[in-house]
Amino acid sequence: MAEVPTYRTPEVITPTREFLDKMEEMWSDPPGIIGWLSTVDHKKIGRRYLVTAFLFLFVGGLEALIMRLQLAQPNEHMVGPHLYNQLFSMHGTTMIFLYALPILSGFSNFIWPLILGTRDMAFPRLNMFTYWTFLLAGAFMYIGFPTGQGTDVGWFNYVPLAGSAYNPGPGVDIFALGMIFLGISTTAGAINFIATMFRTRAPGMSISRVPIMIWGTLTANVGILFAVPAVSLDFFLLWLDRRFGTDFFNVSGGGHPLLWQHLFWIFGHPWVYAIVLPAMSIVSQCLPVHCRRPLVANSAVILATILTMVLGFGVWVHHMFATGLPVIAMGFFSAASFIIVIPSAVSVFAWVATIWTGRPVFTTAFKFFAAEIVLFVIGGVSGFMTAAVPLDWQLTDTYFVVAHIHYVLIGINVFPVIGGIYHWFPKFAGKMLNEKLGWWNFWLMFIGFNVGFFPMHISGLLGMPRRVYTYPAGLGWGDLNLVTTIGAFIFALGVLVFLVNVVMTLLRGKQAPANPWDADTLEWTTSSPPPHYNFGVIPHVGSLHPLWEDRLEQSDGRTVLHEGLKLDEEHEIPGTTILDAEADVILKMPGKSFAPLIMALLISGVFIGMLLEWWWISGAAMCAMFPALLYWFWPSAEVGRSPRESRA
């Protein structure tokens, strides 16, 4: 029951071999299943996010390939309308909710503490909790599909089609509850990222020295904090309508179906930015490394990123132009949608200028980032076109919109993600991905993507509606669809080459040095892969480009890596002030814990009970959450929340 001291003056040391061995021992997890289930190591969580999100990408991709086979020619009957509806619904929900954001969470979880010069996220257990809830929510959303009970009304799930009158089966209930479930994970993750940014940067990393990748993800997560509640609530109200006969969306009871669309798109449009801004910031972070110079107009890109998110909350009605809204409302939202082009263009010009004025090295990663710029411009222009109300009326619900969304989401999410994996694979796995296979990987994906998705613009202009399981001959759509299908398979082949590259590299790739790209940020000062403790002593950051200071000579600031604060009594990191990043506290980080897994399982219990209407399961799980949270938040000395040494 010894008292814990309240203050300590940490020594400044140069770490020795014995000291680092001690740190490695202290920060590593116990072996076996216990360690696997109870770890809170951000690097392991990040890798799990990446692997799981990629699995969902492959599942969603297979669904897409089946649809493309079905649509390759007119009047095909490989799958019927019922299965086709489930395929496009599951494809959309999988890609948008279970792949696009979680993959970025994987990058951020892995890279953030390393690039910020610290040892963990602000809330390590919450971090593990977000992964478990993501995994369980993803599994939950898939429980209906194998038995033919998947949701079949598309990813935006419009009422009244999604109401119980037209859709009495469990598919929509699974989707609705799964989305609320997944929202818990997403929100908890957002809270964690924001606190990490504001509280745990290395000393000296003042607000002007924060790497741009952090800004993109931070902005997206602030948006998530205010956007996700709209969709969680929307799905909850729908579930009440379906199960308890409430009247939120029923016209006969005084409700309104457009309420669904408003709440959905108030979430939906910011969500688009949530899944592209972090990916754009990966490009902004990594592209300059392969161009051998800092990003052009770094501050302008950061401000444009933030402005995009802010404006992103004011454009949701452009998804609803065809619903018969007042003209003045459409005029306002149309103008807002045009304006958002300006901050988006800032990033594009900054990237182009970075390549133009740099000395590009044509690595696979560079190719993916450069391709992103091209695809972003094409996807941006098709979005800009549909911001005009009359054109939108013509094109809404046609394949033109399908082409647009795929140029945006594959162009600005998948391409930077694959490029980012080539870039950071030395940190993820300690190996270098093969550049020869990378060449095939890139060109197959790039050519396949454009062959597959560009013709969709034309079939859309020719009037082909989206979400039809087949179409009659003689409308002139057959050849375009055949080309699209061929392109889709070339693209899939490219993804397969990527997978082969990853597996081959893991098996027998060559060991990566600490900084193979000669990059500028702190994650490259650690070994490949980084040790469990990340940094033996915490760096003191002197500029925006810690490893390029001597050659850039932009300022006098010099980053100190070889000596720093000795924080070695259990899991410790410095907490720093928001603006100047001066160390003002020694934060005690929690180590391994089963609390996150227990909480995630209890939440699953609540949702399974709600789905089956076995209320006692939900009730019991909710009651069990109180002791579980009590255990989680127990004020032990280990986490620095109790004055006494005793453990709970």
Partner: protein, 205 residues
């Protein structure tokens, strides 16, 4: 020129260990939880006013709601702002007995609020699924009710931890954080009170 360069030795200074003082990670977590929960309520109010603006009939359809219980719950919650502040301010200044007065009182007021709200539900002339207005009424007050129950449970946890000696004037951040949550509950209640009980009485038909 070298004045801007920082020597690591300059960093040496006494630092608090763990959750001491203001702006701990827990505080950040609670502020963001409140932000996202506030957004939930904002979207609920958006739904209410949107459907009201679209409604053909006059809202509330079943006439003005009964006031007595709502006035009771409002009064109770307003008093609880003071009691929870009394506890959190007291422990920060090292006056431990104020926790033992302030928190139990706040918890009891919370329980009284929950009971009063349930009574209020039982006297409402409409059911959960009797149209958009009643759906919104029960959902919004129900959300607030659940949040209040969570707040009461947080207070129970604080009392347990205080009894076990985990909360001192230096390490009292959990009390501050719960107080913050409690203020949020009351602010949301002001919105609910205004929407359901004040506006129907002051807006001309």
């Amino acid at each position: 020129m070298s004045a801007t360069r920082v020597e690591p030795r300059d960093l040496r200074r006494p630092l608090p260990i763990g959750s001491v003082g203001n702006l701990t990670p827990g505080w950040w977590g609670m502020v963001m939880l409140i932000a996202t929960e506030a957004a939930v309520f904002a979207y609920l109010f958006f739904s209410f006013y949107y459907l009201q603006s679209m409604a053909d009939n006059v809202w509330p359809p079943s006439g003005k709601p009964p006031l007595p219980y709502a006035l009771g719950t409002t009064g109770a919650l307003f008093i609880s702002v003071f009691t929870v502040w009394f506890a959190s301010n007291g422990i920060r200044r090292g006056i431990k007995w104020r926790i033992w007065v302030g928190l139990p009182l706040t918890g009891l007021i919370g329980i009284a609020y929950v009971l009063l709200q349930l009574v209020d539900w039982s006297v409402e002339p409409f059911a959960f699924n009797a149209g958009a207005y009643s759906s919104l009424y029960y959902t919004i007050t129900g959300f607030h009710l659940v949040h209040t129950i969570v707040g009461v449970l947080m207070i129970v946890a604080l009392l347990l931890w205080t009894a076990l000696g985990h909360i001192t004037s230096e390490r009292c951040n959990s009390v501050r954080v719960v107080a913050l949550y409690w203020y949020f509950l009351v602010v949301v209640w002001i919105g609910i009170m205004t929407t359901f009980y004040v506006l129907p009485y002051v807006t001309p038909r």
